[in-house]
Amino acid sequence: MNSSSLTSGTEDFAISFRIAVHAGLDKVLGQSGTAAVLSHMQMTGDLPDTAEFHKKLLALFGAQGTLSLERAIVKDLATRLKWSLEVLKIEGAFDFNATMRAVESGSRA
């Protein structure tokens, strides 16, 4: 794999991730809620790394709320990247970071 295809893969994932975050949040919080959350997190432009995103969601919505939102995001992303929704299967605790890393590395492969 050359560097340009690697960059392209990363950019594709970043675009897909951003779209999935908006779409996933929107499904649960609505447009106003999504815009407010992203504005509050100061994430209206580029999205930060998933760990920081997870932490900020956790601060606002707590563990259960965050889980619902993150699952909505991953579901949208998986659908968008034509991945199997197996990634959402709950085996042990759902780990947003680990799931996103898996999706990201998969999308680059």
Partner: protein
């Protein structure tokens, strides 16, 4: 859309709030609402979100502000979609201090996104514990149904996670999406009782909480929310010294400031009839029955009492003995219980005495006690019900002697108080003979009273100062 200027201003305000130090550990959301509503016994479960609904002018904003006040200074925020701060303070001057002490966000020109962002900022530091949205409809109506539901769910999630308490004020009459989401719903209503306004709040829902009573009376007297607990039997052991109340110009005092203010005292020669329904507790009637007698005796005058059916003579005697010295009671008070055989015998009456014979006894007692009265005046307090029970088959005679009594007392400048059951068969004829007339009844467990003749406002009767005398709080 939010202008940058207004948004910056809001954020500055938010920052100021977040910098306010916490001022107390014991302000859990559930206890705050409980304190205001007096519903401690109901608040077993945590209530994070509360909807206050009702039509315009019912008192929703005042109730919401009282809850905000209970949050503690600097620990609440009022988000207004209807009126600016200055106008709200003009509308409810009694709550000016509360409004000044809490964060006030004017969102009339803001969109839902900005408002949600403000809420996130307010709750982030956990220092703001109560947020009032007045009104939620003002904002929600700009959203379509699905978007509204999602915005509401967002707020519920924030409330649950932050530990803050969200109070939504709504004028939407029917059930809306938020009704299903909130933990509690209070409905504020304004009803008319014989041309007088009575306010009620109704607890429609309070999740995880046992609700023994759903409706309560409240008043907005002096612009403050005051609710009334169900009437409680006063503790007569806490009776204080009875201070005699002098005559009010030409009128006799009722022995109660509240009753004097309501009726302006008892005009010599007048008859006041107190109509009550079967739900009125006896101690509430006693609070109108005994103070005039006690005051008459303390003024050196005489009194005659024909008690209500079911009166506790022992308690009556105990109360009177605490308030009036023994010689005065012995010399200038006559209690004639016409339903009690022993009293009838004492009065040398046959067991099957007629109304005329009873009237004869009362007349003789009046003459006897008049001589002992400092100014020859006598107060006659009489239960019509007791006589009705006794003379059910001869009510015409009872009316006849009552009429004679009223005329006699009028001519002698005495005072006369009649207690009349609402369902009395001779009600209308007794009322037509009465110079003044008041009603007592119970609504939502609260004893209410108002003057029909003369027309007065409506009042809640309690015993706030002393168990024997009534405290009357106007319902407005």
């Amino acid at each position: 859309m939010t202008s940058k200027v207004s948004r910056k201003k809001h954020l500055t305000q938010v920052g100021r709030v977040l910098a306010t130090p916490s001022s107390g550990p014991s302000d859990l959301a559930e206890t705050r609402i409980a304190t205001v509503l007096g519903l401690k016994q109901f608040m077993q479960g945590p209530i994070r979100t509360l909807l206050i609904k009702g039509l315009a002018g019912t008192g929703k904003t005042t109730v919401a502000l009282e809850i905000l006040k209970a949050a503690g200074e600097g620990k609440g925020a009022y988000i207004s979609s209807r009126v600016p701060k200055e106008l709200l303070e003009t509308h409810i001057p009694a709550m000016k201090e509360t409004i000044d002490n809490q964060e006030f966000l004017d969102i009339r020109l803001e969109d839902a996104t900005s408002v949600l962002d403000f809420v996130m900022q307010l709750t982030e530091s956990k220092s703001v514990r109560t947020i009032v949205f007045d009104s939620w409809d003002g904002l929600a109506k700009e959203l379509d149904q699905k978007e509204r539901l999602r915005a509401e769910k967002t707020l519920m999630a924030i409330a649950n996670n932050s530990g803050a308490q969200f109070v939504f004020v709504s004028e939407e009459p029917g059930a809306t999406t938020i009704d299903y989401l909130v933990d509690g719903i209070l409905e504020v209503v304004r009803v008319e009782v014989e041309d007088r306004v009575v306010r009620e709040f109704i607890i429609d829902k309070l999740r995880g909480t046992k609700i023994p009573q759903h409706k309560y009376i409240f008043t907005l007297l002096d612009g403050k929310f005051t609710f009334f607990e169900p009437y409680t039997i006063p503790d007569y052991s806490k009776m204080r010294r009875f201070d005699r109340r002098p005559d009010i110009d030409e009128s006799y005092s009722f022995g109660s400031g509240a009753l004097d203010r309501l009726f302006g005292g008892m005009t010599p020669g007048s008859t006041l009839t107190i109509e009550y329904d079967e739900t009125v507790p006896y101690p509430a009637l006693r609070a109108i029955e005994l103070p005039p007698i006690i005051n008459f005796l303390l003024m050196g005058r005489s009194a005659i009492l024909l008690p209500l059916p079911g009166a506790n003579d022992e308690l009556t005697n105990t109360i009177l003995a605490k308030a009036v010295d023994a010689p005065a009671l012995k010399d200038r008070l006559s209690i004639l219980n016409v339903l009690r055989t022993s009293d009838v015998k004492t009065a040398n009456l046959p067991i099957n005495a007629t109304p005329q014979q009873i009237h004869g006894v009362v007349t003789n007692e009046t003459i006897r006690l008049r001589d002992k009265s400092v100014d020859k005046t006598v107060l006659l307090v009489k239960s019509v019900s007791a006589l009705e029970n006794l003379f059910a088959s001869d009510l015409d005679s009872l009316l006849e002697v009552t009429s004679q009594e009223i005329i006699t007392l009028q001519q002698s400048h005495d005072a006369h108080i009649l207690f009349l059951a609402k369902d009395s068969p001779i009600r209308s004829r007794i009322l037509s003979m009465s110079s003044s007339y008041a009603k007592l009844f119970v609504r939502d467990g609260t004893v209410l009273m108002f003057g029909v003749k003369p027309h007065t406002g409506i009042y809640a009767l309690q015993h706030l100062e002393d168990p024997t005398i009534p405290s009357l709080t106007q319902l407005v």
